[in-house]
């Protein structure tokens, strides 16, 4: 087991009467990615703000790279990079000027700051746009510039607060590639996200946060195992057949199936794998219901979230 480079012990933050974070423990081993998953308002950003010295905790303590975030904030700031939810770059400065400025503010010598800016522009495919004001950049380009700004001093510890929120699928894929490359280079990452597939895709370990507390933690596989094994799932062509199909599934599996009316999709946990699948298909066949996309699958993190919190991740996000 390698050394933990990000550690939180019983972190607490209150805003007035609201308990934004109530007693969160974290440990991120060097070279791994921790995905912090939760809906809007769960306390993810507050956690990141405390770990990156932007917000003083009301209780508990946190160490980043061995430095206490409250006692030695500047030591922490020197060794970590933060890229936030909003692309925090000066929109009137060019990409190059932004990176150069951040390099200088990290106290790199002039020449080194300029060289590093060039290097990062190249790496993040911004060289062509380097001398245009950031104002003219697309959302994805701005986000890349923001991330580049966080990497000026080649930090080994990187905090990414919802790095892909608001990006289109292509932008998101691009960001994932960049994040994977950072991990290959040996960085330790703490990544917050509302997207379950993102945590599934990028994180070694996942903590699920809701209402300021950790409600589950583990690898993606472990979390999926928590809500049980395989499920049978299928789609019926007409909405009218959905309730009859659901009744058939209940008869076979003894479990109340989950029904998505909009897509006419029915799914239910099964205990006996393919045998249950065949039984469900036979039952549907007996009723004359034509089913598509019939299959067995393991639960998604979405379902894990639903099972653990009683609400869906995305729904809450829209509401908040």
């Amino acid at each position: 087991m390698s050394e933990n480079v990000i550690v939180a012990e019983g972190l607490v933050k209150r805003f007035g009467k609201v308990h934004a974070v109530s007693g969160v423990d974290l440990a991120v081993p060097a070279g791994t990615v921790l995905g912090m998953l939760g809906p809007n308002g769960a306390g993810k950003t507050t956690m990141v703000r405390m770990l990156t010295t932007l917000l003083r905790p009301d209780g508990g303590r946190a160490l980043v790279g061995g430095h206490d975030v409250v006692a030695e904030p500047n030591a922490v700031r020197t060794i970590m990079g933060l890229s936030g939810q909003y692309a925090a770059v000066d929109e009137y400065l060019t990409g190059r000027e932004n990176l150069d400025m951040f390099g200088r503010l990290y106290h790199l010598p002039k020449r080194e700051a300029a060289a590093r800016a060039d290097e990062l522009l190249d790496r993040f495919r911004l060289t062509d746009a380097a001398d245009r004001p950031a104002k003219t950049y697309s959302g994805g380009m701005r986000r890349r510039l923001d991330l580049a700004a966080a990497l000026v001093v080649r930090p080994k510890i990187i905090f990414l607060d919802e790095p892909t929120t608001g990006l289109d699928p292509r932008g998101r894929m691009g960001m994932w590639e960049i994040i994977r490359a950072l991990v290959r280079d040996g960085a330790t990452l703490l990544l917050t996200t509302q997207y379950l597939e993102e945590a599934d895709e990028l994180a070694d370990d996942i903590v699920i946060i809701d209402h300021g507390t950790v409600i589950a933690r583990g690898t993606s596989d472990q979390l999926k195992a928590m809500v049980g094994g395989e499920r049978v799932q299928f789609t019926v062509p007409s909405p009218a057949a959905v309730s009859r199909a659901a009744a058939a599934v209940l008869g076979v599996t003894g479990e109340d199936p989950e029904v998505d009316e909009e897509t006419s999709t029915v799914s239910a946990p099964v205990r006996e794998g393919t045998r249950s699948l065949v039984a469900v298909v036979n039952a549907l066949d007996g009723l004359g219901i034509e089913a598509h996309d019939v299959g067995l699958r393991r639960p998604t993190l979405d379902e894990v979230f639903l099972a653990l919190t009683g609400h869906k991740a995305e729904e809450e996000a829209v509401e908040a």
Partner: protein, 258 residues
């Protein structure tokens, strides 16, 4: 600590680079003072009762110059609130830079911008009848007084901007209180014309001290004397800068943009 100046200079550079890229901002920050100079010169210039030996145009011009300098608050408060809203303050706070650098940089660039405004405004004033009668050093000293005013009121603006956190609100909050403050001074009317209770306040109003000092420097004897008004004005400006500079840095450290 040693990074205050170099980090502050980086921030000043940032703002100065923005100036040519937002030409509207410079244009409109010039329009207002120039417009006031002309309005006061021609609308009020002939209408005010002045003490004997006082030229109304000279008197009013200095008042309007000084008032325009206090409006530096709005630029700084809006700029900082905007940085806050856009998450830039978070970014800066996550860097190992000096805590006061963001404020130092903002003040530095706003000082440059406002001195430019002051020069243009005074030039327009000269075209419509204003005259330096206090000599070269008086004229130079008057601009020095403007610089002190910008730094003092800019500190107040910094504190407001970091407290209000919303650029539109900060724009209004940065300027609204300046109207009663500057109008209850002797910037535009002699104190003798005011009712007693108002005059009592106007006599201690820092704007009165700044305007007295600037009249002493720009216009000079026999009617206006720079001293001790200059010391009183500098004491006010220094005090405001220390108090609000401290409050602003504290607010910056606590900044919580959302």
């Amino acid at each position: 600590m040693s990074y205050v100046l170099s980090d502050g200079w980086e921030m000043t550079k940032r703002h100065l680079r923005q100036v040519p890229r937002i030409p509207e901002l410079l244009f409109f920050s010039l329009i207002q003072p120039v417009m006031f100079v002309l309005l006061f010169r021609y609308v009020f210039g002939g209408a005010l009762r002045m003490p004997p030996g006082v030229d109304a145009v000279q008197y009013l011009m200095v008042g309007i110059f000084a008032q325009s300098m206090t409006f530096a608050t709005a630029g700084i408060s809006t700029g900082l609130a905007d940085d806050m809203q856009k998450g830039l303050i978070d970014r800066f706070r996550s860097l190992p830079m000096a805590r006061s650098a963001v404020l130092v940089g903002r003040m530095g660039s706003d000082l440059v911008r406002n001195m430019f405004v002051a020069v243009v405004m005074v030039l327009v004033g000269l075209l419509v009848g204003f005259r330096f009668t206090g000599g070269f050093w008086g004229a130079l000293g008057g601009f020095g007084m403007f610089a002190a005013t910008v730094l003092a009121f800019g500190s107040i603006g910094a504190w407001i901007g970091l407290s209000v956190r919303n650029a539109e609100a900060a724009n209004i909050a940065g300027i609204i209180w300046l109207f009663p403050l500057t109008f209850t001074s002797n910037a535009f009317v002699p104190l003798e014309t005011m009712p007693d209770w108002l005059r009592a306040w106007a006599q201690v109003n820092p704007i009165t001290k700044i305007v007295n000092a600037t009249r002493g420097l720009f216009i000079g004897p026999p009617v206006f004397h720079p001293f001790p008004a200059v010391w009183q004005a500098l004491a006010w400006c220094g005090g405001l800068m220390v108090v609000f500079g401290f409050l602003a840095v504290r607010q910056y450290q606590r900044a919580n943009s959302r």
